[in-house]
Every structure is written in structure tokens, then in C-alpha cells.
């Protein structure tokens, strides 16, 4: 059974149909990269997965349970599906450490000491253990993004969603974030990644999904997808990227 399964998902913003009857699934331990040009609906699909956008139609099954209709609390569900944003969205009124603690204490109702230990563990994991008491505004983009990953991990998420995690970074900082993500992938964490980093997708993803104008046009095993794209549109897109 897929960990997350999306069936016939539809989403419009006003008259603009962003997602059309989209079907998508992620298995436990799988790394899926969503690629496609701007406005293809990949970010909207990702935001629908943790309900930052509410779909107009269709269903989202988490471990077989439809989270749109079930009695499962949305906030409880969100703790299981962590999100890493393009613009980091770290809490600017808190230190790096508190960013990783607050959710554990206020949402998961963990003991403060346990939460502290857990936060430090994950901050060390992303290489930010030296910045526990720094404020997010003092950090570089790459550092912020690593803290954001630690914040999501500290919630003991089962899936991490990445919405263009490196798009807002200076080129020299992209790798420090991709390295962290690569480590997580190797440890078997389930991840859905919207990205423009094709080399990263090729290397890390188990499966690549290509979206175009609100539909999933093509998907496949990563190497196969990049080496032998089937659809004309996919070839065109990959050609553009390679130039």
C-alpha cells in the first residue's frame, strides 16, 4: 500500500484550473522528484499533499485513510508530513533551537527536555549544531534551509515535502542543502521534492514525475526518465534545461 495516494485531485484558482484529475502516489521510503516548468501545478500538488491548499475535488489517502473526509485532525496529519519551503519560513522571533522545539512542545506536547535533546540531535545532523542560539536573520540562505529541514525532522515526520528548496539560494549554497537531502534519502526517508536541480533528481530520486499544465504527463524510474523520455513535451523540457 502506498504511503500517500492521491486520486483524481482537482484544484482551481478562480477560473484557472491548476490541477486536472491528478493521480499520484508515494511509497514508504521512496524519493519522488516533481519537475516541470513554472505554472505546471507541481507546487500546488505538493501544497495539496499537506493541505496548505485545499483541493476542490478528489481524495488524498494517507495510509489508506482519506484525510479530506476522515475525522483525522488536519494538524495531527501535518505533523507527519513535514514541509520545507523555498523561502525557508523559519520563525524570525525565535532562535534556531526554539524553531525546532516549539512544534514538539506545543503541537506534539513533548516534554521540554526531550524536545530540546531531539532538536539538538537534528540540528547536529544538518550541521547547524554550532548555531543553536543564533537568530534566523543572522544565517545565510543555505543555513536557514538546513534549519528548516531540522525543524521538519524534529516533528518525527514520516514524509518530507520540499518545495523548490534550493531555488532561493546562491549557487554556492545549493550543495550544502542538497547534501543534507541526499543523506536523508540514503537513510530511507520518504520524500517528495519539487526541484529544478536535474542532476540531483537523476542521482537521488527513485522516480521522477513530469508535470505540464496541471496534469502528470510522464513518470518513470529516474535514469530511464532522463535517458529515454517518451513524450515530446518532456523531451522539449529536458532539452531546454540542458542548454
Amino acid at each position: 500500500m502506498a504511503l500517500i495516494e492521491i486520486n483524481h485531485l482537482g484544484k482551481s484558482f478562480g477560473t484557472l484550473e491548476v490541477l486536472k484529475d491528478t493521480n499520484f502516489h508515494v511509497d514508504q521510503g521512496e524519493v519522488v522528484c516533481l519537475i516541470g516548468s513554472s505554472g505546471s501545478g507541481k507546487s500546488t500538488l505538493l501544497r495539496c499533499v499537506n493541505l496548505l491548499e485545499t483541493p476542490d475535488s478528489g481524495e488524498i489517502l494517507y495510509k489508506g485513510e482519506n484525510i479530506l473526509t476522515s475525522k483525522m485532525n488536519i494538524n495531527t496529519y501535518r505533523t507527519k508530513v513535514g514541509m520545507v519551503f523555498q523561502s525557508f519560513n523559519l520563525f524570525n522571533n525565535m532562535s534556531v533551537l526554539d524553531n525546532c522545539i516549539i512544534g514538539q512542545v506545543k503541537v506534539l506536547k513533548k516534554n521540554k527536555n526531550v524536545a530540546h535533546e531531539n532538536a539538538v540531535k537534528y540540528l547536529n545532523k544538518v550541521g547547524m549544531g554550532n548555531f543553536l542560539h543564533a537568530n534566523p536573520t543572522q544565517l545565510s540562505g543555505g543555513q536557514k534551509q538546513r534549519v528548516a529541514i531540522a525543524r521538519a525532522l524534529a516533528m518525527d515526520s514520516e514524509v518530507l515535502l520540499f518545495d523548490e528548496p534550493t531555488s532561493a539560494l546562491d549557487p554556492e549554497m545549493v550543495n550544502e542543502v542538497l547534501n543534507v537531502m541526499r543523506d536523508l534519502a540514503n537513510e530511507g526517508l520518504t520524500m517528495i521534492i519539487v526541484t529544478h536541480e536535474m542532476n540531483f533528481a537523476k542521482e537521488v530520486a527513485n522516480r521522477v514525475v513530469f508535470m505540464d499544465r496541471g496534469i502528470i504527463l510522464e513518470e518513470g524510474e529516474a535514469k530511464e526518465f532522463f535517458n529515454n523520455p517518451k513524450e515530446e513535451r518532456t523531451k522539449e523540457f529536458l532539452g531546454m534545461i540542458r542548454k
Binding site: 494538524n75 496529519y77 519551503f85 520563525f91 543572522q138
Partner: protein, 262 residues
């Protein structure tokens, strides 16, 4: 030639002022204390009112596609009611509010001018604070809310732990300004017999049969109060902007901030 009477009158003005200061010290000090107390309590209570009303106005202005029809109607009603409060209390003079509320509620509440003054200035300040808080909330990046929701916080938790602290920080200069305004504008509360600084000046003026002396003195006193307050607020603001540098000294070098962790 013309200078002589001017200098003479100035000398006598100074004399008059000195007389007021020496003879009516205790009245003036009592008045100044009342002014500061009513301005301070009014600002704090006003801020609390403003936080509640401002947050309600922000939420009722935000449209969510998930909202049911009833929620939409409730939001509209809430927005209308809070708008009435804000517009009425910002759109009429506090002196008129004071006279009307004090006398119309005197029968039922039997309140003292002191208590009435604190209530009236708080309600009046609350109306201004509501708009300050609302724009403060609007100034916080939308991503902050999304970040909070993404780790499972409820709307209330996101507002309380993430949005409001930043909104208050952003709005701090305006909030402090309300305090300074209240120090000055509380003088209109003399109309209900509240013994603040202006009220004392009027009483003194009645006993010494002179306008210039008492009002020169309280003018200076008001200025000292507002000037000092402005400086103190400036220091607090500066401190607030530097609270982030609470990281250990070993980590505060520019080098370590820029250094990647890998």
C-alpha cells in the same frame, strides 16, 4: 525702547512661575503622577484591547476558500462591529467621549472620575491600537503562518506564538507613540474632574489669578515627561532590535556566522 517692558514682563513671568513651583509643588507632582498613571494604564489596557480587536479584524478580513457560508457571515458581522468601535472612537474627540460616558454611566456605575478616566482613555486607545495591531499583523510575512501551519500548529497557536510577537515588535514604535500621545491628550480628562496635570494648573490659576505662570510650568512638565518617555522608548526599541545577538560569544564572529556547517 520697546525691549524694556518685554524684559520686565519676562522677569515677572519667571517670578510668577517660580511662585507657582514653590507654593504648589505637591499639587503639581500629584497631577504629574496622575497623568503618567492614566497614560500608562490607558496604553497597556488599550494595547490588550487592540490585540484582541486587531486580531479579530485581521482574521475577519482574511478570506479562506474553505469557509462555510455561516463563517463568512460571522466574519462580516465581526468586522462591522469592530469597525463601528474603531471608527466611532477614532472619529470623535476624547473630551466628548469622556463627558458623555462619564455622565451617562455615572448613575449606574457610580464611578469616580479617576476610574472613569482610566476606562475612557483605555477604550479610546484601544481603537487606535486595534488598527496598529492589524497593520502590524499584516506586516508579518505570510510564510511565517505557513511555516507554523506546516508543523501542525492551529490558527490560534500560529497567531499567538509566531505572528503576534513579530507584529508587536514591528508595531512597537507606533505603540510607544500612543503612550506619548496619551501623556499629552489625557489633559482633556480634566473635563470630568480628573486631577491630572492640566486640571491642577487650572486650579492653581484660580487661586493665583494668573494664567501664564501655571501654564508655563505645566507646559515644561509635560515636555519633560514626553521627552523622557521618548528617549526611554528609543532605548527599548534599540534593545529589542539587538536581542538576537544572544548567541554565545564564540559564535558571534562574522567568520563563524558565514561559515558553513559542513
Amino acid at each position: 525702547m520697546n525691549l524694556i517692558p518685554l524684559v520686565l514682563s519676562n522677569v515677572s513671568l519667571m517670578d510668577k512661575a517660580m511662585k507657582v513651583v514653590t507654593q504648589y509643588q505637591s499639587l503639581l507632582i500629584k497631577g504629574a503622577i496622575n497623568t503618567v498613571i492614566v497614560a500608562l494604564i490607558g496604553t497597556i489596557v488599550g494595547l490588550v484591547i487592540g490585540l484582541v480587536i486587531g486580531a479579530i479584524r485581521f482574521v475577519s478580513l482574511s478570506h479562506d476558500r474553505k469557509d462555510s457560508k455561516i463563517t463568512v457571515i460571522c466574519k462580516k458581522i465581526l468586522y462591522f462591529l469592530t469597525s463601528c468601535y474603531v471608527e466611532i472612537f477614532r472619529g470623535t474627540p476624547m473630551m466628548v467621549q469622556a463627558m458623555f460616558l462619564y455622565w451617562s454611566l455615572k448613575q449606574s456605575l457610580n464611578w469616580t472620575p479617576y476610574f472613569a478616566a482610566i476606562c475612557i482613555i483605555s477604550i479610546n486607545t484601544g481603537a487606535y491600537m486595534a488598527e496598529i495591531v492589524r497593520s502590524g499583523i499584516q506586516s508579518v510575512d505570510k510564510g511565517q503562518n505557513e511555516g507554523a501551519r506546516s508543523i501542525g500548529m492551529t490558527d490560534m497557536q500560529a497567531m499567538f506564538y509566531v505572528i503576534l510577537p513579530q507584529a508587536i515588535k514591528n508595531a512597537f514604535p507606533s505603540i510607544g507613540n500612543e503612550f506619548v500621545v496619551n501623556i499629552k491628550d489625557s489633559c482633556v480628562l480634566n473635563c470630568i474632574g480628573f486631577a491630572e496635570l492640566f486640571f491642577q494648573a487650572k486650579s492653581i490659576q484660580g487661586s493665583v489669578f494668573d494664567y501664564t505662570g501655571p501654564f508655563l510650568v505645566v507646559g515644561i512638565m509635560y515636555f519633560v515627561l514626553t521627552f523622557t518617555t521618548t528617549r526611554i522608548l528609543g532605548i527599548i526599541e534599540e534593545k529589542m532590535n539587538h536581542t538576537h545577538s544572544s548567541i554565545p560569544a564564540s559564535d558571534t564572529t562574522a567568520n563563524s556566522i558565514q561559515r558553513g556547517g559542513f
